[in-house]
Symmetry: C2
Subunit: 575 residues, 2 copies
């Protein structure tokens, strides 16, 4: 029996770019057909990009997305195509179109709509009820969209019981630390429990705060990985499936599969067979994308997040304020790795409080990364503003106000360079600072993309060391890594004057922000009660700053963006 050849197009779509996404999809169809695949799948909402958010509320956008589907359908000849789009049938559905012989043959509607974390799908879509099995050249293929697969008694169960030997699951599953392993484990469980081959097709690319990691996978009925797409890159994963083996395996184990009763949903069968390919097919070897370390994963996620945010928004160059500290150094290294050193401009903006070591560290960094540097002292403007305010401020003690002013003048300078030359400003604050508000609104927070917004300070250090190890030299100056963190907004300032040590702070923050633990619970984990109280209050009190922060790249289970929707006006104090 000729093996059943499936292709998974792990493509990088752009939200709203119906024309560009359609072209990309058509090219992949041609490529998959040239490899004689029986079927090719595309990610969830590949036509619109994911998440399209409120674009979905524009009727014209929906109509245009359906027009795009027709263009793609015309290309679906000699191959069956599964592609994500927004379907409109008495309401909107997150759907997988079934295309064959140049026509739209049907559409599966996502059943389980995520409406937690960064997801808002119930804002836009209705839940599907029907189940689809398509018959492609003698093989029964079930369809599923993202969240559907995460439910044990979801569509996969019913489709399998109705005879599907392969499930094609199309996804836009965003990266977060630990997700790759979790996903693979879940898919193995789902495949073995249902004795079915699962072809998990993920999206790849950055979209605002989300990064889709790709890592599409095919897992067989016994939980073996048959192929894996690249991480954080486009890919076309082609695999030959031995369907007979699945059928035989099932015959032996028949009893196990029918233990639980399926949900009573109608299964729609769609015959999609076409003139099968008769000649000798080009042989394909299954690919196995690399397994990455956590730091490598994060680093690549951040690079892809930068690259796509910059390019998809029409920029090519970025400007970064370099302070000599580790946050801006890591941001610059990431930007160079993402965009190339010629696309990155460092801006050093010293003041009276800037130390020689900072200047020296900036110079080494710029040398190591081979980027251009502009040095613009802020002294003249700082003095001018202090003069302007001297009457108002008479008799007051210099403090946070004066510190913030320096940060804001630096923000003004970066934005002026951005306005004048079209460079996107990358802001450099880390998650620890953003959580407790140890940042200046309109100052160091200014920018188009906040690269480390979801990276805790301790992980900033780990990523810097990781980058140096790869380079096998100190790309990020060792001195930058080892010096005490300081904002240099007054003499002898150290972060630890007002914050607990980052090793402690980050653990408390993880428990409080990601874990939603009560302060009392965190204290019982072994942290000092007054420290926990202080950190909790700091987090709660600076929601107004985060509300005005740039988009940042999500890498944890709870980023400070769409993931966390806290009221600004909030008087909650644990009783």
């Amino acid at each position: 029996m000729t093996p059943f050849r499936i292709a998974q197009a792990q493509i990088n779509c752009t939200v709203g770019d119906l024309t560009g996404n359609t072209e990309k999809i058509c090219q992949s169809i041609q490529q998959a057909r040239s490899l004689n695949a029986d079927i090719v799948s595309f990610p969830e909402l590949a036509i619109t990009g994911y998440p399209p958010e409120d674009l979905v509320l524009k009727p014209q956008f929906i109509a245009d997305n359906i027009d795009a589907l027709q263009v793609i359908a015309a290309e679906a000849k000699g191959i069956v195509v599964i592609v994500g789009f927004v379907d409109k049938v008495n309401g909107l559905y997150n759907a997988a179109a079934i295309l064959s012989q140049g026509k739209v043959r049907g559409a599966y509607h996502k059943h389980h709509l995520p409406n937690y974390g960064v997801f808002d799908e119930k804002r836009y879509f209705r839940s599907g009820r029907d189940l689809h099995i398509i018959e492609v050249n003698g093989v029964s293929v079930g369809l599923s969209i993202c969240e559907d697969m995460w439910t044990q008694r979801g569509p996969t169960r019913v489709q399998t019981l109705a005879g599907a030997t392969v499930i094609i699951s199309i996804n836009a599953s965003p990266y977060q630390i630990g997700k790759l392993d979790e996903r693979e484990r879940m898919l193995r469980t789902r495949a073995t429990r249902n004795q079915v081959i699962i072809a998990f097709n993920n999206m790849v690319g950055g979209q605002d705060e989300l990064v889709f990691d790709g890592c599409s996978m095919v897992i067989d009925h016994e939980g073996r990985l048959l192929a894996k797409g690249k991480a954080f890159e486009e890919d076309l994963v082609v695999v030959d499936l031995d369907i007979q083996k699945v059928e035989e395996f099932r015959k032996q184990k028949q009893s196990r599969l029918h233990k639980s009763s399926p949900r009573t949903q109608s299964v729609t069968r769609i015959l999609c067979s076409f003139e099968p390919y008769v000649g000798k097919r080009i042989k394909v070897l299954p690919k196995f994308g690399p397994t990455l370390t956590i730091l490598d994963e994060i680093y690549q996620a951040l690079c892809l997040g930068i690259y796509d945010y910059v390019h998809k928004n029409g920029f090519s160059k970025v400007a970064i304020g370099l302070s000599g500290g580790i946050d801006s150094a890591l941001t610059a290294a990431l930007a160079v790795d993402a965009l190339g050193s010629r696309q990155v401009l460092g801006v050093f903006m010293p003041s009276r409080y800037t130390s020689c070591e900072s200047r020296f560290d900036v110079e080494s960094l710029v040398h190591n990364l081979n980027i251009n540097l502009r040095t613009i002292s802020i002294e003249e403007a700082y003095t001018a503003v202090l003069n302007m305010l001297s009457e108002e401020f008479q008799g007051t003690t210099p403090g946070t106000t004066e510190e913030n002013l320096q940060a804001r003048i630096r923000g003004d300078v970066l934005m002026a360079l951005s306005n004048k030359f079209g460079w996107l400003v990358l802001s450099t604050g880390n998650k620890s600072e953003m959580s407790v508000g140890y940042v200046t609104l309109y100052g160091d927070m200014a920018g188009g993309l906040s690269v480390l917004k979801d990276v805790p300070k301790t992980m900033v250090y780990n990523l810097a060391r990781f980058r140096n190890e790869i380079a096998s030299n100190a790309m990020i100056p060792e001195h930058t890594i080892h010096r005490d963190p300081t904002a240099e907004l007054r003499d002898d300032q150290k972060d630890q004057d007002v914050l607990p040590p980052y090793a402690i702070l980050d653990q408390i923050l993880e428990a409080y922000v990601e874990g939603n633990h009560a302060m009392s619970e965190i204290v019982s984990m072994g942290f000092d009660a007054s420290t926990v109280g202080q950190v909790g209050r700091m987090v709660d009190e600076c929601e107004y700053k985060r509300r005005q922060a740039p988009v940042g790249i999500k890498i944890t289970s709870c980023a400070l963006g769409r993931d966390r929707r806290m009221p600004v006006t909030n008087r909650y104090q644990e009783t």
Copy 2:
């Protein structure tokens, strides 16, 4: 027969302030009891405040809210109390607790969860299935929460068919233009269709971008308004209901009520009767809050939004950059009406481009409003920054960059005053500007609250004229109202150099932003195609600015906040 006396506590809750809200609720219970009411109701989620957003994801917050409910239950003696809280029973529910004889007797769970516009209730809550009818001193009362009432075949229908003669509907229904009328019409329809008395108890107060207008109402079974609470103020609405009349009316019309079959849901009956009051009750006369004009409504909504944002966030004074233009003048007038003139500081920050007329208009305004003024020229800082950047900018033509710099220096000055003296900065940009991006990020956009963010420019003029009419003098200088709008960031600049006339712009924006109409549809409404295209592109391209904007007060059907969730990275262009 003694009339059935119901009280509706239209209170102003603060999100997260479990202690404060509980105190307020207990005080209202005492007040209602002293008036011998049989039952007193409170708004939706009165204990937590609305919307509590991700506070609901903190298990400790839920536990604390249930503790607060117990405190309130202890107060519920000699009266039945209906109060909104978050219930936890295998998941979370937006619930109405039924309290009597010092105990929690049960809880109705909201059936219909809004998950559109500003609402995210499916993110947090499960849908209720049960229906409750409480028997209070011989009267059958059905319960309902906000959205439930908007559905024709919702809980009201079933409860009425099961014998309820009164429905208590608790709400946190935010203000928007036209909503008051729409709500009253809907309630009349629901009351007459079901031959039932509806007691609609709304929240009042500002919470971030939302303003709850109050306007609680009691409407009888024939659609007559029996009482109406104040608009934009706390109130206790007490009404005596003639239940016998409803029963007699129903007997006559029996046939009509049973035409349609109810949904098959279980009705839970809870007996809440208590020792009835035997003496002569204090007579209460039904109140009828005033019917406001649209401009009056909007003006009051903005004032309440300012007052509550400022006070609930722990501020008392505000600073406003005054330019001599109408936006900052109206913002200042609103702030004075909301907070009092001693709480408002005007800051005039002239540059080389500031005209004499602007200075004169600022001085008249400050005089009329009786507020303090600081004048801080930005020239010194502007010159300094230009000097600092002169090398970088050599050979370039002055333009937007230099204009933005002026706005950003003004932002820096306002924020410095805020940091130093603890004044909240109110930003002054209107919806038209915010929509098309005719604002400077970190410049005139800087601030804690963006008062006119949802007020189109044409309505800014209408509100200014309205304010002057009330004052019966030109509170806002006539010259400010009549001069051509200008940002004064270069010589002879006029808004209309780059924008269509506001009368045109605002109509296009309403169709595009609020109506989600396609550009082609807007053109077919009679607007110039190139203007529509230009406006649409401007709106789409500046999403990144709006993402970093302060919270603004919602007054339209689609404010530029939680209401409108557009991707920043978005290549959609209508095909």
